[in-house]
């Protein structure tokens, strides 16, 4: 191809416009933070990113977003892209704890602070800060609360758990927390159903339907995430098992996350207990970590959100710290 004078002129003009526009992009003086999520599949993540956007805005920061769709390799590329854009901090929710290590190294090399949200990386020589809910502990507490209720009511229980994606650490930790407790109480609790949901609503729906078909007397149900509540409600309604606490045929029901649906079902009396991750706190911790890092401090590698269990008993007292309540309130207004 022959490069004509005209082509050259056009090229030069384009380059000039390009370089002037690029100034516009970087115009705002504040910090730029990258938010790298692996998905927005549940309300927890959707609310999480919204809270982050808001808080960042109030601090005068700019946010850039990237969703990896559970693809570790793509996320690594996204981290590199953010490094190319010279952001001031990277907040990441990786899918795999080990596969994120090269990304941390890359961020270290570029001297960009990296904070893991809700999922800590595996141990390595690379430095980053992780904020995490204590999944196993919170699930243990939730199930313990339910077991206590069960003991109070007496009788034997047939239990079923909706497990998350088997490739996700959080799902594994929550499952383990569940079994930690039920295995100590084998005398009254018999686990008859383990539904593999793959974090997928219709898998959960079909799986739970089948589990209840196989064991119609299931009366102790735990989900690894609150975003599956609508399917659970639908299945239990079909099986005529959706009853409030205290009514005959109530299924002991425990949730995890603490989203707006969980709040509503707690309030209505269908949900007995919910392990809440303190979302707002976690975001504050994450952003605080960025500020510490920028200030030259070196926070601990793992910062734990202890979370808490909320139940119908202490709903009014604790609900203001439950992020789902905030969302729920907003929805009521809107």
């Amino acid at each position: 191809m022959q490069v004509t004078r005209r082509a050259f002129t056009v090229g030069a003009l384009v380059a000039a416009v390009g370089s002037s526009m690029s100034v516009m992009v970087k115009a705002e003086g504040g910090k730029t933070v990258a938010l790298l999520f692996d998905s927005l599949v549940s309300p927890f993540w959707v609310s999480g990113i919204e809270i982050m956007r808001e808080k960042a805005k109030s601090k005068g920061w700019t946010t850039l977003e990237n969703i990896s769709n559970f693809d570790d390799n793509k996320q690594f590329e996204q981290v590199k892209a953010m490094i190319s854009r010279k952001v001031d901090g990277i907040l990441i929710i990786q899918t795999d704890a080990k596969a994120v290590i090269p990304a941390i190294r890359a961020a270290n090399a570029a001297n960009i602070p990296m904070v893991h949200f809700n999922r800590p990386p595996a141990k390595s020589d690379a430095y980053s800060v992780a904020i995490q809910a204590d999944n196993r502990k919170i699930m243990q507490d939730t199930v313990s609360f339910m077991v206590a209720q069960a003991k109070k009511m007496g009788g034997k229980y047939k239990a079923c758990i909706l497990i998350g994606d088997l490739g996700d650490v959080n799902a594994i930790q929550r499952r383990d927390g569940f079994f930690d407790i039920v295995n100590q109480n084998k005398d009254i609790i018999d686990v008859v159903g383990r539904v593999s949901t793959e974090w997928n609503a219709d898998k959960a729906f079909a799986g739970l339907t089948n589990a209840i078909q196989a064991n119609p007397d299931i009366n102790f149900l735990v989900t690894s995430s609150d975003f599956l509540h609508p399917q659970i409600e639908q299945v239990l309604k079909s099986a005529n098992k959706w009853h409030k606490k205290g009514e005959a045929g109530h299924v002991l029901f425990g949730g995890f996350d603490g989203d707006e649906g969980a709040y509503a079902r707690l309030q209505d009396g269908y949900l007995d207990a919910c392990g809440v991750q303190n979302l707002a706190l976690e975001v504050d911790m994450a952003f605080g970590a960025f500020e510490d890092l920028w200030a030259g401090k070196k926070p601990e590698k793992l910062l734990l959100d202890p979370g808490f269990v909320i139940s119908q008993d202490d709903l009014m007292a604790k609900r203001d710290t439950m992020w789902g309540y905030t969302v729920w309130k907003k929805m009521q207004k809107g």
């Binding site: 599949v41 497990i163 079909a206 078909q213 609508p230 639908q234």
Partner: protein, 331 residues
């Protein structure tokens, strides 16, 4: 067909068994699960299986039309999500008799967009639907802001409702199936679909309006995706941002498992229903027998594999047995 051997009964039995091999496999499967779980072989459980197979089955029926003309539609998942998002966000307050037809029209329109690119601009179906898969989901995500979309209580109670003792999902499945089956086998349009799938050029020369057929087929796939989406969302009650995501795989799997060729001209919706139900039966059986979740994909894939193996072996044996003979030979 000069030579058929009337004398050999053994060959007839073999032929009969071979023709019905998939059904036999299915029966073996039912017996196996039935022995492992007492609750498997019950009417309620079969009703469950059909309910759970319904949305995949309905969309796969639409996909069957597309595959029959040698096309493909990867965008059905995005179509489902658009339907769900519009229904949940903007049509919540309308009565179902209005809102359902409206969103079905949206499904049709989505299919028509695919069809327009494919028939008018002659873009390959694979790439057209690959890109509308992205664009469609992008638009719907813009509507929903990534949030869970909920539906009116009427939608949800419809999902649980039964008429004449038959759950609504199965009604939808049955109606779509019957309409599709009759369309394919008993109408000019249906037979022309097979003709276009076998040889589009020849179909054009035979006076068939090929473009119209191809266009309609993608619209049908769009409508089926919408109906399947409605069945699915009325059961799972909400649509998250991944509603319908990667649904093209199980849908195409059910269709192909049912014997429809990816290269057009061969297959039918009866097989598709069989394919969808077979997969769901295995999943159901695994839950019923409380199998380790890690084993699900292993078992399902092995059973799909066996089903296809039996089918292809059967086809080649049948071909050999039914081959035209030019001489009459006494046994």
């Amino acid at each position: 067909m000069s030579a058929r051997d009337p004398g050999s009964r053994g060959r007839h039995t073999t032929l009969f068994l071979l023709r019905n091999a998939p059904v036999l496999l299915f029966i073996v499967l039912l017996a196996a699960f039935g022995m492992m779980s007492g609750r498997f072989l019950t009417v309620t459980n079969f009703v469950n299986i059909f309910i759970q197979a319904a949305h995949i089955g309905i969309i796969a029926i639409g996909m069957t039309f597309v595959l029959l003309i040698g096309g493909i539609d990867l965008s059905i998942g995005a179509n489902m999500y658009i339907v769900a998002a519009v229904l949940g966000l903007y049509l919540k307050d309308l009565p179902l008799v209005v809102s359902f037809p409206l969103v079905t029209l949206i499904g049709l329109a989505f299919g028509a967009v695919n069809a327009w690119f494919i028939t008018r601009l002659r873009v390959a179906a694979f790439i057209t639907t690959l890109s509308t898969l992205f664009v469609g989901r992008g638009i719907a995500l813009y509507f929903s802001g990534n949030k869970m979309v909920g539906f009116s209580p009427e939608v949800l109670s419809l999902g649980r409702a039964s008429y004449l003792g038959v759950p609504s999902a199965i009604w939808a499945f049955a109606i779509v199936f019957i309409v599709a089956f009759v369309t394919l086998s008993q109408t000019t349009f249906g037979r022309q679909i097979y003709a276009v799938g076998a040889d589009a050029d020849a179909a054009g020369k035979a006076g068939i309006n090929v473009r119209r057929i191809v266009f309609s087929v993608y619209c049908i796939a769009g409508v089926c995706a919408a109906i399947g989406g409605l069945v699915s969302l009325s059961q799972v009650a909400v649509a998250s941002s991944t509603f319908g995501f990667q649904k093209e795989f199980p849908v195409i799997a059910a269709t192909v498992l049912g014997g429809t060729s990816l290269f057009g001209g061969r297959g039918g919706v009866l097989g598709t229903v069989f394919g969808a139900v077979l997969i769901q039966t295995v999943e159901n059986g695994l839950v019923m027998t409380d199998a380790d979740p890690y084993l699900y994909p292993l078992v399902i894939s092995v059973i799909i594999f066996i089903a296809v193996f039996v089918d292809s072996t059967r086809t080649s044996i049948l071909e050999r047995l039914e081959r035209r003979q030019i001489r009459v030979e006494r046994a």
